[in-house]
Symmetry: D2
Amino acid sequence: MLKAIYLNCSLKKASEQSNTEALINKSLDILQTLGVSAEVIRISDYDIPAAMETDAGGDDQWPQIFEKIKAANILVIGSPIWLGEKSSLCTKVIERIYAGSDEKNDAGQAVYYNKVGGVIVTGNEDGAKHVSAEVLYALAHVGFTIPPNVDAYWIGEAGPGPSYIEAGQENSFTKSAIKTLSYNVWHFASMLDKTPIPGKGNLLS
Amino acid sequence: MLKAIYLNCSLKKASEQSNTEALINKSLDILQTLGVSAEVIRISDYDIPAAMETDAGGDDQWPQIFEKIKAANILVIGSPIWLGEKSSLCTKVIERIYAGSDEKNDAGQAVYYNKVGGVIVTGNEDGAKHVSAEVLYALAHVGFTIPPNVDAYWIGEAGPGPSYIEAGQENSFTKSAIKTLSYNVWHFASMLDKTPIPGKGNLLS
Amino acid sequence: MLKAIYLNCSLKKASEQSNTEALINKSLDILQTLGVSAEVIRISDYDIPAAMETDAGGDDQWPQIFEKIKAANILVIGSPIWLGEKSSLCTKVIERIYAGSDEKNDAGQAVYYNKVGGVIVTGNEDGAKHVSAEVLYALAHVGFTIPPNVDAYWIGEAGPGPSYIEAGQENSFTKSAIKTLSYNVWHFASMLDKTPIPGKGNLLS
Amino acid sequence: MLKAIYLNCSLKKASEQSNTEALINKSLDILQTLGVSAEVIRISDYDIPAAMETDAGGDDQWPQIFEKIKAANILVIGSPIWLGEKSSLCTKVIERIYAGSDEKNDAGQAVYYNKVGGVIVTGNEDGAKHVSAEVLYALAHVGFTIPPNVDAYWIGEAGPGPSYIEAGQENSFTKSAIKTLSYNVWHFASMLDKTPIPGKGNLLS
């Protein structure tokens, strides 16, 4: 059974409603319908220090998330936008993922090989493509495969205004993007599960 | 009399209506009311080769624009957004501005010292802050001063949809941003006209 | 036989030596050894207007390049860095690629589905990851698949200095990155040639 | 007496040597020579939750830093580069600064008006301009003034390699950039101390 992990990098605690999680859940529903085992992790509820290590010691809870990523076929990062940028929790998660990029799989490739990446973004008004570009680049650079159209987002008109839950759920562009993201991460996870990337020209030294 | 130049980097020719120019004109009106001599240049109507030179020879029309920039106190770059990015004409203009960054003013500073920069962006839906950040950084890096709040933009909700002229002209956030941009480039141009940046610690070698 | 196209977006004409092309050629050699038919196109030698169209009419030479992209399995974009950004020719090429993104393949997906993207960057000193992120995002957003590690680059130490041809050809990090890029675009092009992305959840409406 | 604050957003604790701090100290020395009271704050040593608030309650130590920023004439943000991006601590600091952007000064402008911003970046190899653009944009967007040439950085050649302390201290480009940054933040802080930005066209509603 294929496994997917969504990391919700909202600044809000699990006790608060997250717009990003509302959009993540649209994708989660599709993946579950397709028979994928999927889980959302709210990063703000974990004690994760900023560090360039896979295990920072002490109460660091990153190692348990790292284990889940290593066991998953699909990783989708969800982020809100603040001042046009991904959240600091999203940046921290990427740093921790990066810190694990010299671990190897059985073939000798980076441990993230044969895993598929995607990104989901919500914000009031601006920055979704910029956030998506940075997140997808980071994932591709450490070993994930990026299928076409795995950036889904909702943003509203320029200026302060309503958020995704209030104003975006009927947006047909966003609905279509979430559907395509979900199918394409599934198509590629299935493909790479059957036909892993050959260990030629891409082994870690 | 203070002088301002707006470079409209729309892909559209002057014969076509430009959303970016519609928003530029809101700022132009304010500057003219404040007694600034202001002009809009539609880059698509000029023959400007991509080159890392101030004069690429032949029919290159950049030199006449470069002269206007050197005579101006204020330079505002206007760009549409395509796929989340500033237009290729905007990128080309920045390359040509950069190519002139080793010219000196009378004090021995870069020729763009004591000039004030700003940016105006329109797009269907996303990318205004990213475009603004890149344009303002380029201007600051070659010698322009960037006052606070000199990024004004309009974008609509996620997905295809109406453009600024159709849907954005009454947006109060954008109106306020255009007003602040216009006043702040004027305030700083006035200030630097009276009190130029001292030629200490910043001379080109 | 698999086909690859490299678009070299250097500002230099074909008569001038291009650092980006020197690095592109390292990848081209590998692809040819792997049995891929590969070609480099120097964008500066073509008459390509900035336009949001697949054919801007008149002497526009983009249509012939667009045909080659549509016939190719692999597209690698090469760009120099100017002031931390991809070149204006690179931005223009992406605009033109974007303009074709509503064309469909036989399955009803975007015409760029089942094609693999990559990026090669050279610069004096800074900006390679930023340029890579923007280029790969644009390609993924219009339908290309991005394998892991398909961003290869060389840059030197901060400040003016020698270029790739003079100083970078023995850099083992860059050599390794070019090798991995070449193998991974080949692995994925082979995979997608045998097993195209299923036309489910990703058809253009 | 003018006051400057440097926020060092290194992931390293104060007990560890920070390359970013080594470069910050070059600027600090110049400002102190110019008679500016200057202080470096190592963000990693403070307990600062990620939050879109000026005071997140509990043990939040941001309020004491926010008070220092409000009392300062100059704010310079220092960041390392990880995977081409500013650190997560830097992103968090910008979020907290942004959260305070609706506070007003006595004139009714944003509280950051009449303050001058700058950025200092170190990294092994790539990303300094991208980090600088994002940091300076954020500062300008909330009310800081950005003088010309206030982005100073050191990075080495592509790939893993020595850091600033080991390999960059004699780099003449970086030395010159640090000098210009320091003088220009001082010139503008002096200017804005004597001649504040007029409260016209830029008041918060």
